[in-house]
């Protein structure tokens, strides 16, 4: 039963870890602006966005053509 003291100690340590993380987050200003980061994350380098789109579209169209093939073969 005395293992309970070890467990309490461990759980307190973990909890203190989270408390420190929270305090650090407040201190570093993460709660100062709760809106702009949500917009900022959507920005991307212009060229990169286009590239991403084209590669995605390519892969999509490839997938689709593959699917069509499978379907036609089934028929």
């Amino acid at each position: 039963m005395s293992v309970v003291f070890v467990l309490i100690g461990a759980s307190l340590l973990v909890a203190i870890g989270f408390l420190v993380a929270y305090l650090w987050a407040v201190k570093s200003g993460q709660y100062d602006d709760k809106y702009t980061p949500s917009i900022r994350i959507l920005f991307d380098d212009n060229n990169k966005v286009q590239n991403d789109l084209t590669t995605k579209q390519n892969s999509k169209s490839r997938e689709q053509s593959a699917e069509n093939k499978v379907l036609s073969e089934k028929e």
């Binding site: 039963m1 005395s2 309970v4 003291f5 309490i8 759980s11 307190l12 909890a15 203190i16 989270f18 408390l19 929270y22 305090l23 407040v26 201190k27 709660y31 100062d32 602006d33 709760k34 809106y35 702009t36 917009i39 900022r40 959507l42 920005f43 212009n46």
Partner: protein
């Protein structure tokens, strides 16, 4: 102003989108396709220039994130930014600098969409000296770090100006940092209190459920000491605000709500220590930490602030920080506070007159809209006196100052006592007034109980006495106010009524007399009642609309908005003569619009209260527009509703030419006061307060600043909340003006909800005290009773406020 222009054009956009052309940059309507780059059409060269700058630097992503995100440059005037080279001023503006890198925080009210964020964070592509720029969108702030070697502050501000994001430059706004730090402290305190509360609860479970007491007798003691350890930060850090506030109150001989709270916290802590150390008990540390945690959450809820709004502005944040003076034909820039009497100053287009002066040279055309709410500029001729606070529209003028900045007609208002007294004295909240009686009653009950046990069973005197104080700790009482008012504040905010803090709601509920300002408050600022006297055909209407389109004069814009369904025609030549009118050639027709003297070249001295704008086409007199103040929608209903319960007065800086018209709205003729100077307005409020009235002042301009400050509740009306508004308790967006009565009634209801929740919390207190005086308050009873009472009060207030708002159609 830009925003209004934008709105009116989006309306057009919806109705005629099939045949009109809109600016690629700002979305305004374009008269033709003459200004264009490839297939992209612009409304003016300003917008085109911005596009070119951005295009040149590969920043056209700006236009793909949102369509037409730009800010129109049509009415834009270049600012004189030479003062930014002044080292003293620069030091005051920037946040931080080592000789190489500087950092500055700029407020940019124009930012409105994600494109704005994107462009402002990519500034380094436009100026290689900018190291980084970061936006805080809600606060409309931009933090720029830049290299002093490669660029300078003036260049950066000029760059921002050139792409339409003009930063506000004044020294007053720098003080807000303190409030932010306070808010951060509250977050720390809540985090620590929550952490300790959770762990103490966990460690108290064996005690609640009597587990393990037999197998592991030392567990109870170890857990209890761990609890003491965990409660130390709660007691010595998280709850310090309550101790200091209570102490401040006692020093002033006021028993505020924090006194019983602080008493409760201290008693809880001491009693628990005694229990654990000497009596081998469990203590009430779980209740203590829970109490502090809930109270702090309530505080956070009450602390809702509107980041972008500033309720403390005085004239200094509106006035320029520097002024150009001329001395022996040399122009220099000096900080405005160093301006002395008898100096020659140069005021350029769109600059503000910093001190009362005499016009020496040039044609003055002064726009006093921020001072009086009157939107039509007033022209002045050489030798005339010009009051500080007006904005020059037109050419640069030369003035000689005759008063110091702080002693001018308008600014000396801020020297009066009203602006020196401390804010706090005004606030006697309901909770504080109740807590006074409450605290004494609780102390009385505790003492009587203790006295009783002294004779019956002296061993439990201490526990009975402390138990009463613990259980009577007005946690629920302290929570009902922040949650009720915090909710009300949010609901008001959703309906475009922004309050400085929650105390305003309580003050609003107890108002007895309501004072309105006239111009700009009960009249609309940017639209007027326009009537045309004469006859016009469709083509002539087009000519007039096209001609006035180029003018930024408020009257021109009224006329522009007056014609709805006419086409725009390209203008061949255009000339605006300040203070007189405009002259344009369109389709070979010569059009003159402006004053009688200018258009008809004769002068009739007909006095009239409404403004007239004359029109001639090819030298034929077509008639005139009569433009008069338009009263806000719903004014009549508001006044008739409010007149039932309140005394109402009107204060106007103008003469009484509109008295007849106003009598339609206001029942009591005696309460209409005209020709009121800013000081008269302040005194009027003061006199009402001297006979014991609680006064609500509703105003808008700087000339109401004294009255707004003096009144118990001062509400400023604004067409655009990002614009300047004088120091006040609340800012009401103009479109919600017709709901004023609803807001006042709502705050009265909120106060009733608080009283109801007080009664609820008293019931809990009575139950608790019944346990306590009988000496049988076990830790588990306290641990259950306290959270239940707190939570039920919070639920009750939140639910009833929202129910009320739904009933009133506010959510």
């Amino acid at each position: 102003m830009e925003r209004i222009e934008y709105n009116s054009n989006t309306e057009i956009l919806e109705t005629h989108s099939n045949r009109k052309i809109f600016c690629y940059h700002c979305g305004d309507e374009c008269p033709d396709e003459s200004i264009h780059i490839n297939e992209k059409v612009f409304c003016c060269n300003g917008c085109k220039t911005v596009y070119e700058i951005l295009n040149q630097h590969n920043l056209c992503n700006y236009y793909t994130l949102e369509s037409s995100p730009g800010i129109t440059k049509k009415y834009d005037v270049k600012r004189n930014l030479d003062f930014l080279n002044d080292l003293d001023l620069k030091q005051k503006l920037i946040d931080f600098s080592d000789s190489k890198v500087s950092r500055i925080t700029l407020t940019i009210p124009q930012m409105h969409c994600s494109s704005c964020i994107w462009i402002l964070e990519n500034l380094y592509k436009l100026d290689s000296g900018i190291i980084s720029s970061q936006v805080n969108f809600l606060q409309k702030q931009l933090v720029i770090s830049y290299s002093e070697e490669k660029t300078n502050l003036k260049q950066i501000v000029e760059l921002l100006d050139s792409i339409g994001y003009e930063p506000l430059l004044n020294l007053e706004e720098k003080k807000e940092e303190k409030a932010k730090a306070e808010n951060k402290n509250l977050y720390y305190k809540i985090g620590i209190a929550g952490f300790c509360f959770g762990n103490i609860m966990l460690l108290s479970f064996p005690e609640y459920l009597s587990i393990g007491a037999e197998e592991l007798p030392e567990m109870k003691r170890i857990f209890a000491y761990l609890n003491i350890l965990l409660s130390l930060p709660v007691f010595f850090y998280s709850s310090t605000d309550y101790f200091t506030s209570a102490w401040k109150g006692i020093k002033k001989k006021i028993v505020n709500i924090d006194v019983p709270i602080a008493l409760g916290i201290i008693v809880l802590f001491v009693r628990s220590l005694v229990d654990i150390v000497f009596l081998n008990g469990a203590g009430y540390l779980d209740s203590l930490s829970g109490l502090v945690f809930f109270l702090l959450i309530g505080k956070l809820f009450q602390n809702k602030t509107y980041d972008t709004l500033n309720f403390e502005r005085n004239y200094k944040s509106y006035f320029p920080i520097s002024v150009t003076i001329r001395k022996e034909n040399v122009e220099t820039t000096i900080p405005v506070e160093k301006l002395e009497i008898g100096k020659r100053i140069i005021v350029r287009n769109n600059e503000i007159i910093p001190a009362d002066s005499i016009l020496i040279k040039g044609k003055a055309n002064i726009d006093y809209s921020f001072v009086t709410g009157e939107s039509n500029p007033i022209s002045k001729t050489t030798g005339e006196m010009i009051y500080a606070g007006g904005r020059q529209v037109g050419e640069a003028i030369e003035l000689e100052t005759i008063k110091e900045v702080s002693q001018s007609y308008l600014t000396q208002l801020w020297n009066s006592k009203t602006f020196q007294k401390e804010e706090e004295s005004k606030i006697v909240s309901l909770a504080n007034s109740i807590s006074k009686h409450f605290t004494f009653i609780v102390l009385f009950i505790a003492s009587v109980g203790a006295l009783y046990w002294l004779f019956i069973n002296p061993s439990i005197v201490f526990s009975a006495f402390t138990a009463v104080l613990i259980v009577a700790c007005p946690c629920a009482l302290a929570l009902s106010t922040p949650f009720t008012l915090g909710n009300t504040l949010r609901i008001f905010g959703r309906n475009k009524f922004y309050l400085k803090n929650t105390n305003v709601i309580e003050n609003l509920a107890s108002v007895e007399h309501i004072v309105f300002d006239k111009t700009g408050t009960i009249t609309e600022n940017n639209s007027a009642e326009v009537n045309f006297v004469g006859k016009l055909n469709q083509h002539e209407k087009s000519l007039i609309k096209s001609a006035v389109r180029n003018s930024s004069h408020p009257l021109s814009r009224n006329i522009y908005n007056f014609f709805n369904d006419v086409d725009l025609i390209p203008v061949e030549s255009y000339n605006e003569i300040t203070g007189e009118g405009i002259e344009a050639v369109i389709n070979n027709h010569k059009i003159k619009i402006g004053s009688q003297h200018f258009v008809l070249e004769k002068h009739n001295n007909t006095t009239n209260d409404s403004t007239r704008v004359y029109v001639s086409i090819d030298n034929n007199n077509m008639g005139y527009f009569s433009i008069s103040n338009k009263y806000r929608k719903g004014l009549k209903e508001i006044i008739s509703v409010l007149e039932k319960d309140y005394e109402i007065s009107l204060l106007s800086g103008d003469n009484d030419s509109e008295r007849e018209k106003l009598r339609e709205f206001f029942a009591d003729d005696k309460e209409l006061h005209f020709k009121q100077s800013p000081h008269d307005k302040l005194d009027f409020i003061n006199n009402l307060q001297k006979i014991g009235k609680k006064v609500l002042m509703i105003g808008d301009g700087l000339n109401d600043a004294g009255a707004l400050k003096q009144s118990d509740v001062g509400i400023s009306i604004s067409d655009d909340i990002n614009n300047f508004s004088p120091a006040c308790d609340g800012i009401l967006e103009a479109q919600s003006f017709n709901r004023i009565a609803d807001f006042i009634h709502f705050s009265i209801k909120s106060k009733k909800i608080i009283i109801a929740s007080f009664i609820l919390s008293f019931v809990y207190n009575i139950i608790g005290i019944a346990f306590a005086v009988s000496g049988s308050l076990s830790p588990i009873v306290a641990a259950i009773l306290m959270p239940i009472s707190s939570i039920s009060v919070v639920v009750f207030t939140t639910f009833s406020v929202n129910f009320l708002a739904k009933k009133k159609g506010m959510i």
